[in-house]
Amino acid sequence: MPEFLLVRDLACGYTYPVLENLNFEIEHGSCVGIIGPNASGKTTLIKTLCGLLKPQTGQVVLDERDVHKMKPLARSRQVAVVSQEARIDFAFSVAEVVMMGRHPYIPRMGSPSSQDWEKVDWAMEVTGVSKLASRSISGLSGGERQRVLIARALAQEPDLLLLDEPTSSLDINHQVEILDLIKHLNHRQRMAIFMAIHDLNLAAQYCDRLMLVHQNRIFAWGNVEEVLTPDNIRTVYGHPVIIERHPVYRCPQVVLLSRLSAASREGLHVHAVVGGGMGIDILLRLTRHGHRVSTGVLNQGDSDWQAARDMELALVDVPPFAPVGEKSCRINLEMMCRSDAVILASIPFGLANLPNLETLLAAAGNGIPVIVVEQDLIENRDFTQGVATRLYKELVKSSLAVVKDSGDALQVLDGIGKRR
């Protein structure tokens, strides 16, 4: 696809540059989200892209023309903006406001043509505000007004639609409505979308590409998966998160971790044997309950490993797909023995992680309370032709408790805590 918005060496801001050295390109029909903390320059960038703010250096080229040198009317036929200042204090009707979007097409002393009315009707139709056409804009709800302003932008028939936090003040149902509408326009009209959006999960769900701005520059720019990484988010927002998949759309979703529980040091020291994504829930709940959690042995790159790292847990790991070696087993056993309890998640066993089971037996032998979470029969998750099942059954015998889920495991831990 041909790129049609080119940004070259752009520095933008008011007196001091807010963003510098911006170089990027946007293709026809793409949907780009710009994310970043408050005051990171999202609005400034949007104001510069639409021509409102003169760049300090560099240029913004739209369809081979410099946006800042275009004639105002020509520019407003190509670029439309839905900005944050959504207050309208005057009793214009909705249809009048949408017709304002036709300003660049109506001759100065002329009146709207039938084509202008068609475009206005169409824009109100698409955005679902036709029924409000004769209502006064000042009496509308936030969601309705936002749709009207999008309708006005559509009436401009732009190739590029810039939106500044289109959902910031709306309830969740309206947020989704507005973003669905934007996505629909993006698909149907092949209209390029560039929107500032502070909700990372909605950004991931609705945008093709994300631009993360931080410390006066583009911190990360690319596909949603490349940009929304725990490291990026922690660096930029200074907060630990883990990234999960959206259960339906499979796009990355940011899960916030509470700093409060991470800081609390009153709980037990619990070692968890997890893996294959079965442990995220346990790790989260343990930390949230204020327990100090360690985990291992995990393969690097495993989703539980990722989560443990994001939560900054003490952990023992081995390279991807490598079997758990003797040295890591020894470290793991030391960790278990220093713990108040060990939890085994309902994980599948293969030859690679079989040594973890042996380590657990050794820990149980040393008198460490072991809690076994059994959500599924061991036979169904034994990929070692029965070896794991044998060791597991032995472990169950010497364990403190076998529980159904992580909630029950927490209760057992509470019991241990009280006795201590």
């Binding site: 021509g51 105002p72 903006v81 900005s83 200042e85 009793a91 214009f92 300003h103």
Partner: protein
Amino acid sequence: MECFKGYAVWILTGILLILIILAVAIGSIHISPLQVLRILLHQLPGISGHAVPNWPESYETIIVLIRLPRVMLALVVGSALALAGAIFQGLFKNPMADPHIIGASSGAGLGATLAITLGLSLNWNGLGAVPLVASAGAFITVILVYNVARSGGTVPIPNLLLAGVAFTSLLSALISLLMYLGQDQMHTIVFWLMGGLSGRSWNHVIFALPYLLIGTAVAVYYARDLNLMLLGEDSAYNLGVEVERVKAILLLVASILTGVAVAASGMIGFVGLIVPHVARMVVGPDHRKLVPVSILAGAILLITADILARTILAPVELPLGVVTALFGAPFFILLLRSYRGPLFRTGSD
């Protein structure tokens, strides 16, 4: 209200024409409105031949040379103030904006005070020193305020308001100082500042009318831009409006209109504040309707006020500015009380 909306311009034009004739008829020598109409029609080329004059010649002199110029000046000044008010309220998106807000009137006031205290004698197209120096004062003040408010390439509205307030206080202080120093002319100055139309001639009308015509044309030309700017300057920019240019032109036009109105008739308050408000209640915020309706309503209001000024305590004539404020303020207060809903939504919902 709704059915009135579409015909507002025609209804107001009708009222205005009738009012002009009434205003000319009223006076120390009573001339019937019908007679007035005949005399006026007689002045028009083409019609004059058809009617045989059956009135004393003095009537013609009274009407054409004394009463009509006064009524026409009321029309021009009322229209100019209302138009300036509509433009300022639109540009400033502020209900308190009136023609005097950015200092044009104080500039004119200082100019007039200077001309009076220094006893300047000038003559230009039959106009004396007072209106000439007053309009120069208005013009200089507006240029100063505009440049003080300018920041980078733009003129932010809050800067403009503050600069206007600052200059207004400075100029008022200077006016007071001049009055204090030149106590002999104090009465003349006070009388002039209170505003009035007595002793004005066709020269004043001819002086002020071109500004009103040009101002009207400019306001109509930019009416749609002004509408877009009501929804925010940034949003107007994104719709292709050359915001700073339109703002500069309209500010200049509104200020000159104010300066000229003050130069011709002194300080007349309330017309520029109240008329655009009432017009907005009737025809809504669209300047394509608001501008013509404000102009007509401003003319009607000021002609009516002048009739009252001439008749209430006749033969004593009240200062026009006192009358507009005496009647305008209570009317405005009543309106505020009875009008449900925000006049001009500001603040929070």
